[in-house]
Symmetry: C2
Subunit: 215 residues, 2 copies
């Protein structure tokens, strides 16, 4: 038997899952990852754009950033993506909680080299942000690809944690005259704001994207 994964869930096992399909769905739904690495005893955590590519995460940033350099050198990394789905209001203060979906992934990152691989990564980032955008926007030049740093993080361990549903009040509290329930939250799109000088109308893929995500 192999050794247990280092992120083995120590608590609230009912919420955790090693199911990669669930973790990957959460990763595909998110836009921002929080990426941690350590320099000696000092941990760092920073928000980054990411996209999943099979069993890896691609992380994107400016070439010169310390994080990109550290990640590209193969340091151990931990990536967390959290989607906040709502507040959970129990009758007791103690049982207040949040509904969320989160993934924690571990791995050792490596720099992505070569114009073709970087171009493919940028296409993934762009299409994740807004499907249809890659074909419409001006695609990257060789110089821009040279200035682009992409890191690939093969996910060796992945854990998903999900909390959904109503509060878990204990029996005596259920009689209390306190409103209890869920306050669902969603990251929603607002109306697009055209840049000054934009002569072009809203493209169909963008209008569709917004209408699918607004309320």
């Amino acid at each position: 038997m192999s050794s247990p994964p280092r992120h083995r869930l120590r608590r609230i096992k009912k919420l955790g899952s090693y199911d990669r399909a669930l973790a990957y769905q959460i990763l595909d739904d998110g836009l921002l990852a929080h990426v941690a690495f350590a320099d000696g005893k000092q941990p760092f955590v920073i928000p980054m754009a990411y996209v999943r590519d099979a069993d890896s995460l691609l992380l994107h940033g400016a070439v010169a950033s310390r994080l990109q350099r550290a990640l590209g050198s193969g340091v151990e990394a931990c990536v967390c993506v959290t989607l906040l789905d709502g507040l959970v209001l129990a009758r007791s203060v103690f049982n207040h909680s949040m509904n969320y979906r989160s993934v924690v992934a571990f791995g050792s990152a490596e720099s992505v080299h070569g114009a073709a691989a970087k171009r493919a990564a940028l296409e993934r980032f762009t299409e994740k942000m807004l499907p249809g955008r890659w074909q419409d926007a001006r695609q990257p030049s060789p110089k821009e690809l040279g200035a682009t740093s992409v890191v690939r993080l093969p996910m060796t361990d992945v854990t998903a944690k999900v909390r959904t549903g109503p509060p878990d009040d204990a029996v005596p509290d259920l009689e209390l005259p306190v409103w209890a329930g869920e306050l669902p939250m969603r990251l929603t799109m607002q109306a697009p704001v055209p840049d000054a000088g934009t002569q072009t109308g809203l493209p169909d893929y963008l209008a569709r994207f917004v209408s699918e995500r607004d309320d």
Copy 2:
């Protein structure tokens, strides 16, 4: 002159700020923090509820969690709070970005001991989640306070980073027939979902909270 803070911004200085007032505003607007610490070379990052208390962050979780134990033992920690404000669609793929507000804070955490201090922390957590809730919900019992773990992280270094506004296309791209602009995003409240068995109507503080945050 004191030594430079360890999180000194290496890049995109225009976006960074050491202004604590700005950082504190962002912290007060957020609900979830990503907290990192290192165990040897292995970094960990995990989502946690938090609330700011003057120059400290209070972090809240289950007593038995590894993170709470590690944090309470005074390990160096790094906390990041990121609020995603929108997608930035440039005419060039290369200049696509996101609008966001983020804070990275460093410090060494300590456990909060004693029922009174834990109770005060829980009041802060509850009132941050939903102002008015503390007085309405059933307040914690001594046993519940005993099962509550709160960690205080005095923020020794704090950095805020903010990106706002339209894309930064270079001059030749400005003529391209590509829609460019911002897609603002917001974490919005949906209609409250009462728990089964809730007899009580929606309290005023809750209705007000939702109407201020929905669209």
